[in-house]
Symmetry: C2
DNA sequence: CTGAAAGCGCTTACAG
DNA sequence: CTGAAAGCGCTTACAG
């Protein structure tokens, strides 16, 4: 591999001059620039990015950590959509994204701290945020630029984040169902320890309360984002008999499909007998029977925004501090309608 | 950020000694090791990975390039499954994966060459392989370790690759359909310029030929991996009347679903009137109506294998040269059955 | 087992 | 506009 010195020798200039032409410094005469470029071309020279990084103390790389151990993660829309947003923006700025595998939540933090601590990346986008471990303080101690995808817990209210407006749009979904006449509405959430699950519950409760409805505790269940979680929710709620829900809102499409299938196996028609709304507007929703009304969450846009904020603050040399809430969008299909008229 | 020198000073040793304890060299006495570790701990020292990389000429990173511009890419199972395989193995070896966005196929090559040329990564896994641009020669000129996911064209038969056995397993799918009595079988492929499409066609033709069947040219169509491609294939083939296929094999599940929907809209029942088989065994197949029989292609395993080969050869200091073919697996569900008995 | 020195391949403040 | 020199933070062959 030829270095800057080989090029300098061939072009008859000092290595620093070669450096200047390749790092785009303005103070180079046209003639020497051309001489250098010609020499570099002949030698097949390409600047060593690692050496440059060491010198300028920047890698033009941002990092994420993901748990490769959890298979469902890679079947879901979240990860690929996030990658798309990350890549779109990093590309625009000439950055790249460094991905660290991890064996679970705790290890994700280890990986992230290792990457920023060893200066392998200039900043990170934090994809998961479990409040049981204090990642944020650790990151702040490292003085590492980061932005969260998802809100932090209140004790870290000052840090940078981008989140979808989960409470508000869940409330809107419930209002949509209320508007069609439903009064008994179920909420099937994901992992109850994760903030988004609580935010959705907040929106759910607010909507029902505004409508003067006191939800039964049995109308709330957690399906952990798997199909069977949706089925089990239906099984449990069916036992309520007259008080069973006439509409279900599920926090992802896979659970919503589990709900639909369980209901259909009981001989119930959707949406004539029971309505179902999912989340994420995935291909699964498009091709469900009936096509599933679903709350689209723009992960790709969120990730793009987070990446913009991160890179801009890296370039400006300060810590990111913006906080952005991104709207969602209810995509209406055929799985929700008015409740059956009581005879 | 404290450096090796700060630690050395605090511990009262030479920087090279600190380096030795952090790079795991054996020749360090227990007492000085402990002194160094204590000092490092107090200062919050973490070795700078970039400096280390420059010195040892290795980054412990492998790279991929993906086109962020093509949305469908991130809705498909290929990318996330590949990432899972990559991360599983890189994690195991203490490597990470650097992802470069790109604006299209040609740019993917630019990105890859830039990364290896600038020594940002030790090697690459090549995810896409368009024979219209000679990526492989370029990579070989750079002396960059790489392994292809997918076979190269014959002029580069010597390089390292991992591929699924597309021809063989497509042949098996067709044999499965022949075995149930089908004689008019359609093949709906992806991009006809891509090798896998040709390989599948080869398997398709071989199976029919073995059965003594001369397929109509009209039974072969290309749906470019989108639902509407499947629908259009049905539209065109329906015009054949008596000679229309009684079974379709589609090269991904989305096209297969397009095929099913188009057929169902014509009032045909699946599988009573027409059989359909998809590819990838995605969630879409599981939840289709009827559930879709689908050829599972283990992208995650393929990527893991490619990554193993790559990293092992990087560590051993030679170019990768293994060639591996990975079996697929036909997952039988309800969308394929015997053809209708002619009255 | 440990130190002193040279080197990895760039960048940039300082002169001229 | 260009050169000479020091520096980024490690590693390692060479002595002892």
């Amino acid at each position: 591999m030829p270095t800057i010195r080989d090029v300098a020798e061939k072009a008859g200039v000092h290595p620093s001059t070669v450096s200047r032409v390749f790092s785009g410094k303005p103070s180079i005469s046209q003639t020497t620039r051309q001489r250098v470029l010609a020499a570099a071309d002949e030698l097949g020279f390409q600047p060593n990015a690692i050496a440059r990084s060491l010198s300028i103390q920047r890698t033009n790389t941002i990092a994420i950590a993901v748990s490769h151990a959890y298979q469902g993660y890679f079947e879901d829309v979240f990860f690929p959509q996030v990658m798309q947003g990350l890549l779109e923006i990093t590309y625009k700025y000439g950055f790249r994204v460094l991905v660290a595998g991890s064996s679970g939540h705790a290890d994700e933090i280890t990986q992230l701290l290792d990457i920023v601590g060893s200066r392998q990346a200039d900043g990170i986008v934090v994809l998961s945020n479990r409040f049981d471990v204090d990642l944020i303080s650790a990151l702040q101690n490292q003085n590492a630029p980061f932005v969260l995808l998802g809100k932090p817990d209140p004790s870290h209210a000052g840090c940078a984040w981008v989140d979808s407006d989960d409470a508000k749009y869940t409330e809107q979904v419930i209002n949509y169902l209320l508007g069609m006449g439903h009064r008994r509405i179920a909420y099937v959430g994901g992992d109850p320890d994760v903030l988004v699950t609580k935010e959705r519950l907040r929106g759910y409760s607010a909507a029902l309360q505004n409508a003067g409805i006191q939800p039964l505790p049995e109308w709330v269940d957690y399906g952990f984002f798997v199909e069977d979680g949706g089925r089990q929710a239906v099984r449990r709620m069916s036992r309520l008999g007259e008080l069973a829900p006439t509409a279900y809102y599920a926090a992802n499409d896979l659970m919503a499909i589990g709900v639909m299938k369980a209901l259909q196996e009981q001989g119930l028609r959707i949406p004539a007998d029971v309505s179902v709304v999912g989340t994420n507007d995935s291909l699964l929703a498009v091709h469900a029977h009936p096509p599933l009304t679903s709350l689209f969450v723009p992960y790709s846009v969120m990730a793009a925004r987070a990446t913009s904020i991160l890179i801009q603050s890296i370039l400006a040399g300060h810590m990111p501090n913006q906080q952005v809430t991104i709207p969602c969008n209810l995509v209406i299909r055929a799985s929700a309608g008015p409740p059956p008229v009581l005879s």
